[in-house]
Symmetry: D2
Subunit: 263 residues, 4 copies
């Protein structure tokens, strides 16, 4: 059984800050947002967690392996180096969507995202070290079959992009509604989903749904481990298996074997 620890990262009072005293240069906002995300990716990633840019002012992280002190340090270092601060809410649940629900609720109780007084909330439930297991985190890494051949080298970039977006929107909705899994586009033709316990048939169903709904053909590699990094690496290797074997679903090492092995 999975135990996903999800953290919501929310920039405090960002909307008002971007237009006070006047609207700021758009490319400066894009730069700030991207570099803030990159710093979160490094901090969380170095502890074997994952973070996704999502909406940039609100970002979703899978933080199995990071405790409350780690979250406090992350908040402090961002506050020291950016013109904005972040609030962090954390939740734990077998179902990723429920964990994120709990994480979000923690921030919402403390105040609105645009509350001028709410700053640097640190709230929530953290998975105790003694309760962590090698089956806690399940990562599914999807990519589009032959995206380069079918799209990138054929269509203009925006039409390739529309295709990838359709595929993403479809798998995102399906996995959320059917399983409470959370899916994120991570660049190129890649989508990473944080899943509860699901079997091979569930992944095939998701792939069939996307092909029917959006006309986009996906394949997937799945990994399970105590942390997103190890589970995700297993998923990447499983995806390479798909490529070599010509299959569309490959499950990595079982939980018992994956353990906390580094790659």
């Amino acid at each position: 059984m999975t135990h996903s620890q999800l953290t919501l990262v929310q920039i405090d009072n960002y909307g008002p800050w971007t237009v006070t005293p006047n609207p700021r240069r758009e490319m400066d906002l894009q730069t700030l947002q991207s570099r803030l995300f990159a710093d979160l990716a490094q901090f969380v990633g170095a502890r074997d967690g994952y973070v996704f840019f999502t909406r940039f002012d609100n970002m979703v992280a899978v933080t199995n392996g990071l405790d409350r002190a780690d979250h406090a340090l992350l908040q402090e270092t961002i506050g020291n180096r950016y013109p904005v601060t972040i609030s962090l809410g954390t939740g734990v649940d077998a179902t990723p969507a429920a964990a994120l629900e709990a994480a979000t609720a923690g921030l919402q109780h403390a105040g609105s995202a645009q509350d001028g007084d709410r700053r640097e909330v640190l709230d929530g439930e953290f998975l105790p070290e003694t309760e962590r297991t090698d089956g806690d985190v399940r990562i599914a890494h999807f990519d589009v079959n032959d995206a380069t051949g079918k799209y990138t080298d054929q269509l203009n970039e925006f039409d390739s992009f529309i295709q990838i977006e359709q595929g993403y929107a479809a798998v995102m909705r399906h996995l959320r509604e059917e399983h409470g899994a959370l899916s994120f586009f991570v660049g190129g033709d890649n989508i990473i989903s944080v899943c509860p316990a699901m079997d091979e048939g569930d992944y095939r169903d998701a792939i069939d749904y996307v092909e029917t709904d959006a006309g986009v053909e996906l394949k997937v590699g799945v990994g399970t481990a105590a942390t997103p990094h190890v589970a995700g690496m297993d998923a990447k290797h499983a995806l390479e298996e798909c490529r070599h074997e010509g299959t569309i679903v490959e499950l990595g090492r079982p939980a018992e074997e994956a353990g906390t092995a580094t790659d």
Copy 2:
């Protein structure tokens, strides 16, 4: 009449690089992608252009104001500081989608995105300085009505995100199909579209379509100028007008007035 200069930025041979000799840590890829985008945003933005992260391995920029030498310098500085290189294709057309089509074709002719030998292509058509006018670039800046109240402070983050994505997917498809406009999600609840000449009714139709198709209510500010930055600033101010006046479409200063004025 608009004259959009679109540049496609494509990382050379990125797919293979990310898995050779072995798959790389996902958070390192996210960091590299985001920081590369941030550097493009600063370089292009400092020359009053706009760039959008799009798929990160393929990024779309509106480069009215940047000439061939600027593009060459951008390519050089990225090549000096990253473990990857970029190819740049540029096109010009009254319709943004057509300009991007030409930009993409330039790269496709030179070789596949995953061609091991194709590196640092610099290709395309640049809008001559003498032909530039204050009506060249039209930027529409959409945001979701009361996103904080309706979504961010009410739903868990992923469900807020799904709502915003639905709205984005709808306006993206509609504007591309109806007008050849290109739309990009830029964080929060904001979408920026690069448009050809369109009238107030066209923007209202787009907003109606999105409300019907995705149940998301948008409002929009529109600006026109010789560069994306000036047009985009006018659009941001027009959006503030919507906020104050309670309207859903506001057009900024006409082209003749906007000129090359700084804000």
Copy 3:
């Protein structure tokens, strides 16, 4: 008794890389060097270590609190995101200079800094967790008395800079020769030294030497702890004491008290 763990970070084959196939834009080299250092500062700093930019192609870190696995991860993440790689040599000794000697020797044995084949060496001795104590790291934080009043607001910037440099060069030489301590200019009018066990008189002697040799008046705060961050914070607070009390040497909490307390 102190037990300093020093790590030498050396960019592999950097000299040749900067001029192959042709000399690269100087500002791109400055950017790469500074951002690489910043990433090291974040990685090492998040684990309560300190790193100093030193010569940028060779950087010195105090890594009490980072083990071999941490060093391996640092090397991997840099290799994934930069066009260069780094070699890491580590040494442990009561005297910082001796520890750095051991760290450097490890790399020198593996090959020249400009050996085309030597890449990503990871070598050395790490202080075992069980042997770590609260007296391991001693940090002395010096600053110039009234630098703003005497220099910054009076002289042109280069002459202020020359003054600060003279002060730095003097304390750097004195502490190295007398005590095997390593001193680093960290910006503004601040110098941080990693010291072996020294008493209050030793710090006064150093300050007298600098005043005589360079005509620059320093004051100092000193801290001791298991990690550079905790020792350094104690040193900063001690320096504030100097400011308030008008003294020139202040020692922070004794080792037994400092422990591993966060501030």
Copy 4:
């Protein structure tokens, strides 16, 4: 005759900010300082200027090629993305030290570096476009003969560093006192000096002085052009000439030839 345009970049109220409400993590300060410098290097470098980290809270730039509007934009973009702001003072003179004197005075007149109210000063004299010539900027690029063989591969890193620092301190003082030239350590074993008109004998004298005073052997390449980048590139190529020819002073193309040629 040279016409150096020097800009002093000063972070507003930085000292107090670093300790308010409490001292901030040292590695966060190092990260902020380095990344701010890197951004300046990119902005100024893309316009063919040079900037040197100097004291990090005060940085010196050679800005021939950047006008007042460029300086205003630089100030705006930094203010949008950092928790601090910068003041910029600019001066022009045949002698670099005099130009910097004028640049610094502009800021000093507006208020102290630690004046809580002084923010974002933009002041000074800019070299008019019509007065710019190919002889305006002279760059001398020094490096230490066989630094890798003599120091890096032989001594522990700190002792190599002390040697390089001695050489730097000597050439810095000599060139400032004799010629009003400004010298900056830029990493490795490299020193870049911004010079007034000087002849080959003057460079040989400087090299002799450093060998006598510090026991460090330098060689130098010199370039002259309308901008630091072009002059500096010529200097780098001249330095490569030294390496190949075994000489210690090489002057690049004369001003008339260098012009504004890119490399």
